[in-house]
């Protein structure tokens, strides 16, 4: 239970996602500039494949989402809950920047 220093803030691409290792777990980080910084599990719960960081960012029902590249389920960036099937959750991570570093809160 601690904040993990993942990378420099400048190494995050803007407007898209990138995967990061946080305590041995793959986390998808989305740096949307002024629209915020989000982190959810990189593993797509619908298929179990780690690829959500590669998904397209979109807005559905006024909420920012990432579309899984495989079967196009949309996961809310804030809660990780799937729009099409609320039983699917890509668990969200707390993320912040501090002195130019990106920190993700590791749950375990």
């Amino acid at each position: 239970m601690s904040w993990i220093n993942v990378c420099e803030e400048t190494s995050l691409p803007i407007g898209t996602g990138v995967a990061a290792w946080v305590s041995g777990k793959a986390v998808a980080i989305f740096n949307l500039g002024k629209d915020g910084l989000y982190a959810i599990d990189n593993v797509d719960p619908a298929t179990g494949v780690g690829l959500l960081a590669r998904g397209l960012i979109c807005e559905m029902d006024g909420e920012l989402c990432v579309a899984s590249p495989l079967y196009k389920q949309h996961y809310r960036l804030t809660t990780g809950v799937c729009i099409e099937d609320t039983s699917l959750v890509a668990s969200p991570f707390d993320i912040k920047t501090e002195q130019g570093h990106v920190l993700v809160f590791a749950k375990a």
Binding site: C7, P13, A19, A20, W21, G24, A26, V43, T47, V49
Partner: protein, 190 residues
Amino acid sequence: MPYRDVPAECAEAQSKDIGIIATDKGWNLYVAGNGGMRPRHGDLFATDLSIETLYKYIDRILMFYVKTADKLQRTSTWMESLDGGLAYLKSVVIDDALGINSTLEQQMDLIAATYQCEWKTSLEKPEFLARFNEFVNPNEAPGTDNNAYQRVREQRFPNIKDVGAGTIAIKDITEQQTTEQQTTADEVVA
């Protein structure tokens, strides 16, 4: 832009936007040919040109095309819609009827001078190359990522709960059908 050193048209120079064919005395220049769905023979623009004149003419023609054609318009349709057609293009490019040839050449020189290979540029910029890394901190990877891949029929395959891509697709369709049936049933009750 194909060229050919025999006049037998082996490189199909007359079916291209710009085609040049070598002759005994120099180069023949063809313009506005097209292949594909709407083939068009290139028009013979000038004959027996020296290599310097050839370059000049091609530069001027291409810049004039850039200035006057519609967006995405092929040179063949451009030539057919050009008022005055080939004769007009000849008067502009060869006789400098509009007095713009030096401008056209300067603009083409600028384009040639500022051309960059996007692949090369990408390879020189670390921020572009970084986009090819799946992980922003690859050094933090756990020793073996057992979660990512499994072996199916001796091939590497993403680790999906049920084995095989076909299985997922079938499963998803059945789930979808079940939910659709339920929805229809609910609507009937309502």
